[in-house]
Subunit: 407 residues, 2 copies
């Protein structure tokens, strides 16, 4: 069985053309007019395919294909998101939604009658650019956050999530989590460079890295860069640099990754020793014990620095997600399906957060990755070759079919 | 002979009250209305003391005390600046101007007739906050920059230096450098913590550190902080951190100082590897060979980093001043004068740039330092105790007298 690959590629292009701003940047921020435009398009395709469309209170859209025979069974769910970052590419999220819808359509049109219903979901606000937290729709669906709290989220533009959802016509009445899937599978671009570098077609994602974000503030003393001898310095900028170097050494041993992505110096003059430096540290590791141990090692190093560098350091955890192990059984189905189609496949770790990590709280879950050229994502240059799109969608189709046909 | 210490302290307070902005911050930026207010006050004091006031084309003000007997001789010059940084203290620069004026006045009123004329100068735009370069007035006076180029300098507020000087009434007609001094001595606060920490009253400044400023740009690749394995990263922020750590190690060996005072990350997101980092490096050393060698070592390290970290690095020198050795004979007169007054004295290196370094190009020059409490400067908390102000001014008086009386 094969998806209509042309239709998938055409719909990726069509959805990709919605939500362009005045400067031509793709910007389908959650619950914006641009998001509505994308939602209307996708919900229309769902109806056109004969799916029953349900919108829940957090705005998640579900296209449900069930029959009188299977409607009492737990459904197999797929899906992803269509909201985007600022100046986004056209694959992130959209690939999973469009391919999931296509898989249901392909099975339906082929006259297959599966043992379990199938659902394709569009989860609200995965990116978290306008409203916090990210992965909001799937988090609420999985019971990790009260819907009222999520709807009360204040956007970067001062708007209220709930008001905006209502305004764009996607404040549904159905309770998030209204159905607990038998399994969840999400097709997504890798958003990283590994598969492209190794020439692998399909990733069976067995784990999602744990993520610890912290904001670290170092306070030293702003003194004259020329007149203050080294021994009398309390250089907050140098201490921050040491943390960056230390974190890299740490994750090189633990197999995680560490990133200092933002930093601000005060007072910020060429000839003044920085008195106050605030920076963020993003630590990730697929192994919870290693992530916790790296985090603790950073904490101990900050204490050391206070003594050695005469600075005061405070740190505040902004985000702490444990690693999410995915379902090995589904990963094996993904591998088998890839092999049957003659595609190279490898086990992968998702470096990014995904809706699937939330669904994993309530049902067996895994993800299928396809390569991102040069690992570029969250950028208009984001690209997955047509062949990889089609291969990934066909593997998704196989996996959904096998899951929906099994007991 | 003693200065009128009370008058010096009173004038420091009075000049310190000029140029306060709406928020009460002391802000006598060069050629601003606030600068005019300070200039009018000081020029008035000069006239009141019976000095002849001359303003040159770059706005330097000179209070000249010469007699028919000595006017053919080369004058002994003292002076400093009264322009300030944003939110400044009241000692930086003003101490040297007010004490210099007081020394001339004290000698004049005592009926002394020196062999050489004496001049107290107020040099334009030492701080360089509004117009570049800093130490502009003394640089032009010493012939290091054409007056036309300096007058054409565009301010951070878009104004032209020459227009603003005219507007505030201090665009004089006299050629900068119209007289070459026999010697130049400047009294200044240390602006560093050494004398306060050691309890020393007088610094005989024998050297001014060389200063190399460079702006370093590191270009890596902006990739996802979660999905990009360490081996595939081109982390411009980490490379910058390594430069900071390396520079500190370097100057710990060479006896210089190194400061990264400004830094900017692009794109600047918690979960994106920085693709472009621009930062400044301020390297100083009193020894030219060591400064040049440190600078070269940084250059070589940047080349290494390009290979090890997969980044591209460009660096641009913004400022390169060689160390300025001051006149040993004047330093010995400073030491002798301090000892005669029972004051502790030590040889010092000036960590900061000073007008004296420009005058050293055209005549024997040295500086007298007095302690800055906790080394704080360029800050309203800048403080030199009254006793130290008075001691410093008396040593300046002695030194000027000896220089002006000698052949």
């Amino acid at each position: 069985m094969e998806n209509n690959g042309k239709q998938i590629l055409g719909r990726l292009a069509e959805l990709g053309r919605t939500g362009l701003d005045a400067e031509g940047r793709r910007m389908r921020l959650a619950a914006s007019d641009a998001d509505r435009e994308g939602r209307d398009l996708v919900a229309g395709w769902m109806r056109e395919a004969g799916l029953r469309v349900v919108v829940d209170r957090i705005g998640n859209i579900f296209g449900i294909w069930e029959t009188d025979e299977n409607k009492a069974e737990a459904p197999v769910m797929t899906g992803s998101h269509i909201d985007s970052v600022i100046d986004a590419g056209r694959y992130d999220g959209c690939l999973g939604v469009i391919s999931g819808l296509e898989a249901l359509k392909t099975m339906k049109e082929a006259g297959i009658r599966t043992k379990h219903p199938l659902i394709v979901g569009v989860f609200t606000n995965e990116e978290g650019v306008r409203y916090s937290p990210d992965m909001m729709g799937s988090l609420v669906y999985a019971g990790g956050m009260a819907v009222e709290d999520a709807l009360a989220s204040v956007g970067t533009d001062g708007t209220i999530m709930g008001d905006e959802l209502k305004r764009i016509g996607y404040a549904g009445s159905v309770r998030p989590g209204f159905v607990t899937p038998k399994a969840f599978v999400e097709l997504h671009i890798e958003q990283g460079p590994i598969m492209d570098a190794e020439g692998v077609s399909i990733g069976a994602v067995e784990n999602l890295q744990g993520i610890h974000w912290q904001r670290i503030t170092i306070e030293g003393a702003a003194n004259h860069a020329g007149t203050t001898p080294t021994r009398m310095r309390k250089d907050a900028g140098l201490a921050a640099a040491k943390v960056n170097v230390f974190a890299r050494e740490l994750v090189t041993k633990s197999g995680g990754v560490a990133t200092v992505g933002t930093i601000a110096f005060e007072p910020g003059a060429v000839n003044v020793i920085p008195s106050r430096v605030v920076f963020t540290l993003d630590l990730r590791n697929p192994d919870k014990a290693k992530l916790d141990s790296d985090d603790a090692a950073i904490g101990a190093y900050l204490k050391e620095l206070e003594k050695s560098d005469g600075v005061r350091i405070t740190s505040e955890h902004m985000t702490c997600f444990d690693p999410v192990p995915f379902d090995d059984g589904i990963c094996r189905i993904i591998e088998k399906s890839a092999q049957n189609r003659g595609l190279s496949v490898r086990r992968m770790v998702s470096g990014a957060g995904q809706d699937a990590q939330m669904l994993a709280r309530i049902c067996p879950t895994a993800m299928i990755f396809v390569p991102s050229v040069n690992g570029i994502s969250h950028n208009p240059r984001e690209l997955t070759h047509d062949e990889d799109v089609i291969n990934g969608a066909n593997v998704l189709l196989d996996v959904l079919k096998e899951l929906a046909e099994a007991e």
